[in-house]
């Protein structure tokens, strides 16, 4: 009984915390997380010191991942049907103890409970000798989609960031390959490719000082994987140039160790750690954010925040609304041309929910998209539902008319409606992803009677429906204002 009470209290606490936190939930405590990898429907990330985190849904993370070798700052990439894990052994001493080594090893699965779970013996692919201008730790892996060549960047503030080529079949260093210097004054690098550009992500600022850490993620880009990587000002990363991707915020301090996860076209996430999450004990935590691309540069997005919004179609710019009678406001002052100069100008009260709700039907009310003028039937409160779990995009949300419990819901006919009371049913829970262009995708957790993954779509200027998401179709995109 006592145990039950404690659990109940914990659940309440978790609920409270979840409504506030902006990092992942569960026990997401990690430092230097590797790029998120998916294996048999679960998500994995490994960290410094061995082990790592596993998530069923991408939102709640718990320990359990296993990585031998301990060491620092791993990365992981799936090549074919195998996973290549890189990690670092470090000299670990001040004053010249920078005898780093980058090692790689393979596994058929990341699930430690699988009978196939067995890492190959690690091989050294790069190393640094104490006092040279490099510290061979913090590996980042890129399988170049244009060439199939495998690259590994590594290094810290101690000298240069370097890149070496690995054999994608063996994970070993390509015979005769020479390391190339590509940046200075950063660490925790990661290489990415997008639309003809190679991107070198790094971390600047001060690490490992908890809530006093100034860690921040930066980037430069190049037409060639071996550089030169320059920032938006044209400054070479060999001279310290870089553009900010994401930094700290009020409650999340010290953003570091970038990883990119592409869910599908237009839906990308970035993984990182915050050196201190003040809402979670000040510990270093895993965070996953939308990754936005603007003018060819990556920007770290934010988790969707609770609030009351106009839900605006990208297609036309109209707002999602209840299909109810339009209730006119009293006409305000008239006469543009003959206005008495002495007439006082007073604010006019906005239409209130109480002014109109009596005119609404009590049961289901369908929805449409219309000219937005800030009326109660057009204002949607979007509120996280912590107990409903989540996804890589964050927690699920309920979408209700402001001041009511009338909730947006998916129907078995693959349409959308509103129900008078939010019950927490899967068709009333919504996943909200910020897309790479900054607009949003809105998807129900489930659609009754089908396993299809459908999204809210503006099928006509004024008509919403549910349909498969297509990033290249403007009908599938929304904005919250």
């Amino acid at each position: 009984m006592k145990r039950y009470i404690i659990s109940a209290i914990s659940a309440i606490s978790l609920s409270v915390v979840c409504s506030q936190v902006q990092a992942q939930v569960g026990r997401p405590f990690i430092h230097d997380p590797s790029t998120i990898a998916e294996c048999d429907g679960k998500y994995y990330t490994f960290g410094t010191g061995g082990g790592g985190l596993i998530s069923e849904d991408g939102w709640a993370w718990y320990g359990g991942a296993e990585r031998p070798g301990r060491g620092a700052a791993p990365d992981v990439i799936k090549i074919g049907d195998r996973y290549l894990v890189a990690y670092s052994a470090t000299g670990g001493g001040l004053g010249g103890g920078h005898n780093g080594r980058v090692l790689t090893m393979w596994n058929k699965t990341l699930d430690p409970k699988s009978p196939d779970f067995e890492f190959t013996e690690a091989v050294v692919v790069a190393e640094s000798e104490g006092i040279e201008d490099n510290d061979a730790i913090d590996a980042g892996l890129l399988l170049d989609p244009t060439t199939g060549r495998l690259w590994c960047s590594y290094g810290t503030y101690f000298g240069f960031i370097r890149i070496v080529e690995l054999d994608p079949e063996t994970g070993k260093r390509v015979e005769g390959n020479e390391a190339i210097d590509i940046a200075i004054d950063c660490e925790a690098t990661d290489l990415e490719y997008r639309d003809g550009w190679y991107y070198l992500f790094g971390t600047h600022g001060t690490c490992c000082d908890g809530s006093n850490s100034t860690y921040n993620i930066v980037v430069g880009r190049s037409r060639n994987v071996t550089g030169p990587y320059v920032d938006h000002l044209g400054r070479d990363m060999m001279r310290g140039g870089a553009k900010m991707v994401i930094g700290g915020s009020d409650r999340l301090i010290g953003a570091g160790h970038f990883g990119r996860f592409i869910e599908e076209e237009g839906v990308e996430k970035m993984s990182l750690h915050y050196e201190a999450d003040l809402d979670q004990g000040g510990y270093s935590v895993l965070a996953i954010r939308p990754l936005i691309w603007k003018d060819g540069w990556p920007i770290g997005g934010e988790l969707f925040k609770d609030g009351t919004y106009k839900i605006e179609s990208e297609r036309r710019g109209y707002g999602l609304e209840l299909a109810v009678d339009f209730v006119r406001m009293p006409r305000a002052a008239r006469g543009f041309f003959n206005m008495d100069e002495n007439t006082p100008v007073e604010p006019v009260a906005a239409q209130k929910l109480d002014d109109v709700i009596g005119t609404w039907p009590e049961g289901e009310i369908s929805v449409r998209i219309g000219d937005y003028i800030g009326r109660p039937h057009q204002k949607w409160s979007v509120v996280a539902v912590p107990e409903a779990g989540g996804t890589l995009a964050g927690p699920y949300f309920k979408i209700v008319i402001e001041g009511t419990n009338r909730a947006l819901a998916a129907t078995a006919e693959k349409e959308v409606t509103t129900v008078p009371e939010f019950t927490g049913a899967p068709e009333q829970l919504w996943r909200i992803d910020q897309l790479t262009d900054g607009t949003f995708r809105i998807m129900p957790k489930a659609v009754p009677g089908t396993d299809e993954k459908l999204a809210l779509v503006s099928i006509a200027d004024s008509t919403p429906t549910l349909a498969p998401f297509d990033f290249n179709n403007v009908n599938c995109k929304w904005n919250f204002k």
Binding site: R70, T90, G95, G97, V123, E132, T156, K172, C208, G240
Partner: protein, 245 residues
């Protein structure tokens, strides 16, 4: 300065548990770039990063970076962590008198000063890089690299007065810079070196001889700086003559 970041994590946070268990079957050494100066570092030397400054003057490089400097061997400071690098601490550190005529001397190559019990020498050098690698300067001379304060002086001969110029500095870690005896740039806190990181207010380079003086502090980690002057359009000023005599 930041080299310690991951290292601090290793040492302080995770202790021995972090050290990797390496049982590699194939230890293939990553080769360094051919021009890596430490490849020939069979004995300590600054030759990989500096050449001795010659007679006369040189012009700034293509990007305007000043590469000819008089560098004083590092002054030892009791700095065990960068966390004490507050603005107040740094100002007090840079305002402290360590040797005679500290803020006025234009030393000669090989000239020495007394700092406490230590006799430290000035070295007239040209950096082979756009930046001046103070860590390598200290390491190459078998001087302390960590917990130190560096001093640098150079002479800029300007063919005509140039108004509205800015001194542009990047340094690892904090530093302070003076032009003709006046404080020009202060780079605060624990920071890495980035070109054009901090700039002075609008200054005037007078016709003839101008003296630039700088001091850079280093806790644990790398240390370097880069300095150039930009005109009012943000373009590097290159019609300068840099000398150390």
């Amino acid at each position: 300065m930041r080299i310690s970041n991951k290292t601090v994590l290793v040492v302080c946070c995770l202790a021995f548990s972090l050290f990797a268990e390496v049982s590699a079957q194939d230890v293939r050494v990553a080769r360094r770039s051919e021009n890596d100066p430490t490849l020939s570092d069979t004995k300590r030397s600054i030759d990989g990063y500096f050449t001795k400054a010659g007679k006369g003057s040189v012009s700034p490089g293509e990007d305007g970076f000043i590469r000819r400097w008089l560098l004083l061997e590092p002054i030892k400071k009791d700095i065990r962590t960068n966390t004490l690098f507050t603005d107040s601490y740094m100002r007090q550190t840079f305002d402290t008198i360590y040797f005679k005529n500290q803020f006025t001397v234009v030393p000669k190559d090989g000239q020495t000063v007394k700092v406490g019990k230590d006799k430290l020498a000035w070295h007239a050098l040209d950096s082979k890089l756009f930046n001046v690698k103070l860590f390598r300067f200290a390491y190459g001379l078998s001087k302390p690299e960590y917990g130190v304060l560096f001093w640098a002086v150079t002479i800029i001969d300007c063919p005509e007065e140039i108004q509205n110029v800015r001194m542009s500095v990047g340094s690892n870690s904090a530093s302070m810079w003076w032009l003709n005896g006046e404080e020009a740039v202060f780079l605060s806190g624990d920071r890495r070196m980035v070109m054009d990181d901090v700039m002075s207010k609008r200054l005037t380079l007078k016709k003839g001889r101008n003296i630039v003086r700088g001091s850079v502090i280093n806790g644990p980690g790398m240390s370097d700086f880069c300095v150039r002057f930009l005109d009012e359009n943000g373009q590097p000023i290159k019609n300068l003559k840099i000398s150390v005599e």
